[in-house]
C-alpha cells in the first residue's frame, strides 16, 4: 500500500462493489457553477453528452454495450454534467496513524487512505469533484484527480498527531475527515466550527486499532508515541486501563457531540473490521446524512 499505484488498485477494488455514489447537492446554487446545459462537458445529468472510449479504471458496468457492439472498441456513455459538488478529504498522515498492534491487521494509515481514496473514486464516478482540504489539491474531477489524490495520500507526515487542515475550505462543499483523533481535540473543534461557519458539512471517521480500544497491557511499561515525541511510564499498566478507557470514551463522546453541533456525521471504525463496512457507512453518510 505504500506506492500510489498499489493504493489506487486497492481503492478501485473496494470501490468496484458499490454503485456510483451520488453525493447530495445541497445548496445547489452555491456549489453548482452552471445550471442545466451550461457546463458543456461530461458529468452528471440526464442528457447525453458523448461516447468516449473506455479507459483502464472504468468499471465494466460503465461500458455502453449498445454503442460498443457496433465496433471492436468499448465505449463509455457520458452525460452532460449538470450538478456537481466538491468533496474535500482530510486523511490524517501523522505518525500515530502508522501503527498496528498485530501483524495481521493493516496500519491505521493504510486503512484510512484506502477508505479515503475509495470514497473519492466513488464520488468521481458520480461526477463529483474531489480534492484535499487546504490548498494542496483543490477539488477537480476525472481520473487524473484520483491519481493525484493517491499520490498525496502516500506522503507521510513526521509529527505525531497532525491537526486537521481547515484552511481554504470551499463554502458549501462536503468534507471527509479520517483520523484516529488522538491529538489535541481543540484543533478538531476549530476545524469543524470553521467548516460549519462556511456551510461545509461532512463526515468524521474515527479510526482506531483494536488495542487502542482494549488496552491489553500489564506490568511495568513505558508507553511511547509512534513518533517518539511523547512517553508515559507506569508501574502497573493494568491499573491504567479503566481510566484510559474512560478518557477514550469521553474523547468519542466529545467528537460525537461536536459533530452533532456542526451538522457533521460521526463514525467509528476499527482496523480489524472490514474496509467494506466502513466504505458502506461512508457512502450512506455522504448520500443521506445531510438531508435537512
Amino acid at each position: 500500500m505504500s506506492t500510489a499505484t498499489a493504493l489506487r488498485a486497492g481503492a478501485e477494488t473496494e470501490a468496484a462493489s458499490l454503485p456510483a455514489l451520488l453525493a447530495r447537492a445541497e445548496h445547489l446554487a452555491g456549489s453548482v457553477l452552471l445550471g442545466d446545459h451550461g457546463r458543456r462537458r461530461s458529468g452528471m445529468g440526464d442528457d447525453f453528452w458523448q461516447y468516449r472510449p473506455a479507459q483502464p479504471g472504468d468499471s465494466r458496468r460503465m461500458v455502453d454495450h449498445r454503442r460498443s457492439a457496433r465496433g471492436d472498441t468499448e465505449f463509455v456513455r457520458e452525460r452532460e454534467w449538470q450538478i456537481a459538488q466538491s468533496v474535500m478529504f482530510w486523511v490524517d498522515q501523522g505518525a500515530s496513524m502508522r501503527f498496528t498492534s498485530n501483524d495481521n491487521l493493516p496500519q491505521k494509515a493504510d486503512r484510512a487512505r484506502l477508505l479515503g481514496l475509495a470514497a473519492a473514486i466513488l464520488l468521481v464516478r458520480g461526477g463529483e469533484r474531489v480534492g484535499l482540504t487546504g490548498t494542496a489539491l483543490p477539488p477537480r474531477r476525472g481520473n487524473t484527480q484520483i491519481l493525484r489524490l493517491a499520490e498525496m495520500f502516500t506522503t507521510d507526515a513526521t509529527d505525531d498527531y497532525s491537526p486537521p487542515e481547515h484552511r481554504a475550505m470551499i463554502p458549501s462543499a462536503r468534507a471527509v475527515f479520517v483520523s484516529d483523533f488522538m491529538g489535541d481535540v481543540s484543533e478538531v473543534r476549530l476545524a469543524l466550527t470553521k467548516a460549519a461557519d462556511r456551510g461545509v458539512r461532512g463526515v468524521l471517521l474515527h479510526l482506531l486499532d483494536p488495542s487502542e480500544e482494549a488496552f491489553p497491557f500489564r506490568g511495568r511499561t513505558i508507553f511511547e508515541s509512534v513518533g517518539g515525541s511523547l512517553s508515559h511510564e507506569t508501574l502497573k499498566a493494568s491499573d491504567l486501563r479503566d481510566r484510559y478507557l474512560d478518557r477514550l470514551a469521553s474523547r468519542k463522546a466529545e467528537l460525537s457531540e461536536l459533530c452533532a453541533v456542526t451538522g457533521w456525521q460521526y463514525g467509528l471504525h476499527h482496523t480489524d473490521s472490514t474496509a467494506q463496512s466502513a466504505l458502506l457507512w461512508l457512502y450512506r453518510a455522504l448520500d443521506t446524512g445531510s438531508i435537512r
Binding site: 498527531y161 513505558i222 511523547l230 508515559h232 481510566r243 484510559y244 478518557r247
Partner: protein
Amino acid sequence: MTVLGGIGFTAPWLLMALFALPILWLILRAVPPAPIRRRFPGVALLLGLKDDETVSDRTPWWLLLLRMLAVAAIIIGLAGPVLNPEADAAQGDGPLLIVLDGSWGGATRWSEQAEAVEAQLTRASRAGRTVAFLDMARPEPPVFQAADAWRSRLPGFRPAAWQPDAARAAMAVSFADALGGFDTMWFSDGLDFPGREDVLSAFRNAGAVEIYQTAANVLALTPAGFEDGAVQLTALRAAGGPEREITIQAQGRDPAGNASILASAGAVFAAGETEASTALSLPAELRARITRFDIQGQRSAGATTLADDALRRREVALIAGRESREGLQLLSPLHYIEQALAPNADLIRGAISDVLPANPDVIVLADVATLSPAETEGLGAWIDEGGMLVRFAGPRVAASDISRIDEDPMMPVRLRTGGRTVGGAMSWGQPKTLAPFRESSPFFGLRIPDDVQITSQVMAQPDPTLAERVIAELTDGTPLVTRKTREQGQIVLFHITATADWSTLPLSGLFVQMLERLAVSSSASAPDAAQLDGTTWTPEQVMDGFGTLSDAGNLPGVPGPDLINAPAGPDMQPGIYADGDRRLARNVIGAETTLTPAAWPADIPIRGFAVPPEQPVAGWLLSLSVLLLLADVVASLALSGRLLGRVNTAAAVVLALLLMPTGPGSAQTADADAEADAFALNATAELALAWVRTGDARVDELSQAGLTGLSQTLYFRTSVEPAEPVGVDLEMDELAFFPILYWPVTPDQPRPSAEAYAKLNAYLRSGGLILFDTRDADISRFGGSSPNGRKLQDLAAALDIPPLEPLPTDHVLTRTFYLLQDFPGRHTSREVWVEAAPPDAEQIEGMPFRNLNDGVTPVVIGGNDWAAAWAITQNGAPMVPVGRGFTGERQRELAYRFGVNLIMHVLTGNYKSDQVHVPALLDRLGQ
C-alpha cells in the same frame, strides 16, 4: 560423609547457604521487573495519569517460589547428596576376604551377585581396606590387594559347573589359617557342600563373618530318561516351599538347523516337595534332535541336562537273505537280533533298495551272500557317508563264493571255502569259547559269560591286514568278529549266524552289549560303570557354570567308569563325551543327586544381594535447578507479556525441530499406506474395469471414457454392474483387484520396471487378462512394424505370454454373450490374437466348435482402438466418431458387443464352451 534423614552429604556445610534463601526472597520481592517499552498512539490519552500505587507489579509468589526452589536445588546439589548411603556396619578397617561359592547354584543370579560384590568393593575401597577373593569351587591362595584392583578383575569370575567338595574345603581352611586376621563376606549359592562348616569355623576364627545369600531357591534338572515312549524329566529344588510351577524346555535344532525350543512341558513342585516330574512325549524324529533340556528362567549348569544317545534311537534296517514269512518265527534269521534291538532302536524291514533312501544308521544283513551291482553301489555310497553295515554269516554265505579270491568290498575279510564246525557229533574238538577281548577291541572290558559257545563259523583267510581287523576272536585265535572301515563308515562281519544255530552267543546278554558297543543300538538306561569298563571317553564339549556348551579343546580323555562315578570337578567337567561313535552326556546332576540347602548358624548375619547401591543425586538436583530456571524464564516472559506473539513462532520452531527427523517420513509412509488402503477398498468394493496409465493425456482420457462407456453398456445389458473404471499405475498399484486390464500401447510410454513385470506376470498367472490395444489397425497389420507394434513387442517381451493365434471362429469369445465373428473398435481389423488352442483340440463331427475347456486367455491383442469406440462423454454422447452414418453406429454397437463378450469371458471363463450349451447354441445358430 554426614547422613541427614537417610541422605548422605559429601559437603554438608554448603547446606548453610539455605539460610540465605529468605533474604533472597525479600530482595527478589523488592526489585521490580524491568519495564517494557511499547509503541502506543493512545499515549496522548494517558498523559497525566498517575499510578495508584507506587509499588510496581510484584513478582507473583509462585514465581518467587520457583526461583527459590531452583536456588535450593543448586545449593543442595552442590552439597553432594547421596541416596542409600552404605551404613557403616560392624565392618572394621582390616583386610576383607570375599568368598564366593562359585558353583553352578549361583549362576542364575550371578549378575546380581556380581553387583553386590562390586558394591562391597566400592565400599571397601572407600574405607581403604584391602581385599582378597577366594573362589570355593577353584580355591587358590588369597592375595590381599587394593579393592579397586579387584573391581576390574571382577568380570573374570565365572561360576564353575561343579560344586566345592571336601578337598577344596580343606584347601580353603588351610588358606584361612595361613592368612591371620581378616573379616569375611561369604557370597553363598545357597547349597550345602561337604566341609562347609570347617571352612566357616576357620573364617570365624579369623574375624567377623557376613553371609550374603539369595532367597531364591536353587533349581536343578536330573538327566532325562526314556521310558514308556516318553522322555521322563525330573526337576529338583534345594528347599521345599510353596507350590511352584516350572517349565522344562527341550532345546535343539529345528530342521533348518537353527537352535530353537522344540518342546516344553510344565512341572509342578507340590508344596513342601523338592521333586517335580513330568513326561514329554515326542516323535522319534523330534526327540533325536534334542540336544539339551533346561528349566525356563534358570541359567545354570545344574538346571541343564544334556541329551545323549540314551534319547537317540537308531534306525536299523534288518535284511535277511531268505524271507520266509510262513516259516517259524524262532527260525527266522532275524529273530534274535530283532529281540536284541527292538527295545531301543527303530527297526526297518524291506529290500536294500527300499531302505537305503530312509538313510538308516545301521543295516544288518543276516546271511545275505550276494548283492546285485546296484545294491552294492548304493550300499557302498551309504557306507562311505558314515553308514554301518553289520553282516552275519550263515549257510548261504558259507556256500557262496563271496570274498573268496579277492576281498569283497562289502566284506571286511576274505573267507575260506566252507566253514568249520567244532564240537559237533562228528567233529574232532570241543565247542570253542570266546577269548578275552583285546585292548584295541571296542568290546574291551565286557565280561564274557561262560556259557557262550561257538560250534560253527566261517573262517577268515589269513591276510596281512587280518590281525588289525579282528575285534573278537575265539580262544584258539580264530577271528569271530572282524571289522574294516571304509571312508566314514564301517563294515562288521560276525562270522556266525544271527540265530542260535551256530553258537549260543545270540542267546546271551553279551550279544546285546556287543551290539551296544558297536553303536548298533543305544542303551535306553544310563550305562553303569561296569559297562564302561576299559573305555576311554574324550570330551567333545564341556559346560560352564551357566550351562553353556563350549568346545572342549584339548582336555584329556577320562576312563569310562569315572564318567559315571567320579564327582564333577576340573578333571571331570560336565559335557558331552565321545567314544568312537558313542556319545555320552555327563551332567552336573546325577540320577541320585539331591540338593541340600546350606544351613548357617543363627548368630551369623545373612543378607540378600539386593543392596540398593549408593546413588549420588547431585546431578539430578542440578538438572532440576536448570529446568526450574528455564521454567522461570518462560514464566517471567509470560508474565511480562513478552512471550505472546513470540512464543508461537518459537514453539513452532522447537516443535518443528523435534519433529523434523521423524515427522515427515512417518507421515509420508502413513499417507502412502492410507492411500494404498483407500485404493484397495475402492477397487474391491465393487467390480471395476482397469486401464493402464500410459502418460499420454489423450490416450488416458479415452481409456477412462471408453471403459466408462463399456461399464455402462454392461450395466444396462447384463448382470455385470461395474463401478467407475480405475486407471492403474503399473509401478505403484496392486493389480490383483481387477479382472481385466486395458492396455493401450503408445510409442513413448515408459517400460515398466522389473518389479512391475513381476506383478504383471503374477497377475497373468492368477487369471488376469490384459487387452493390448495398439490402436493402429487402420495403418498396420498385426506384427507389422508400426511404432506401436514395435512398442508392444518391447513391452510384452518380459511378460509370461503363451503361444498365440488369431482368434479362431470357434473361440469362446465369439459366443460368451453375443454371437459375434467380428471384433471391431474404431478400426475394423479382423486380426485379434488370443492364446493358441492346444494342438490336440479337434473338432468332433457334427459339433459347431472344438472342445476347448481350459482357461481364460491371459492376453487379447489387437489394434482396433476399442476404447475410442466405447468412449462416451459425461452426458453419454460418443466422444470419437466411428465410421460413417448408420454403418458407423452399427460398428460402434459391435464394438460394445465385443466388449461385453470380453468381460463375460473374463468373468465366466470357458462356461460357454461347455458342451451342455451346444443344443441351445446350435438352435440359435440355425443349424
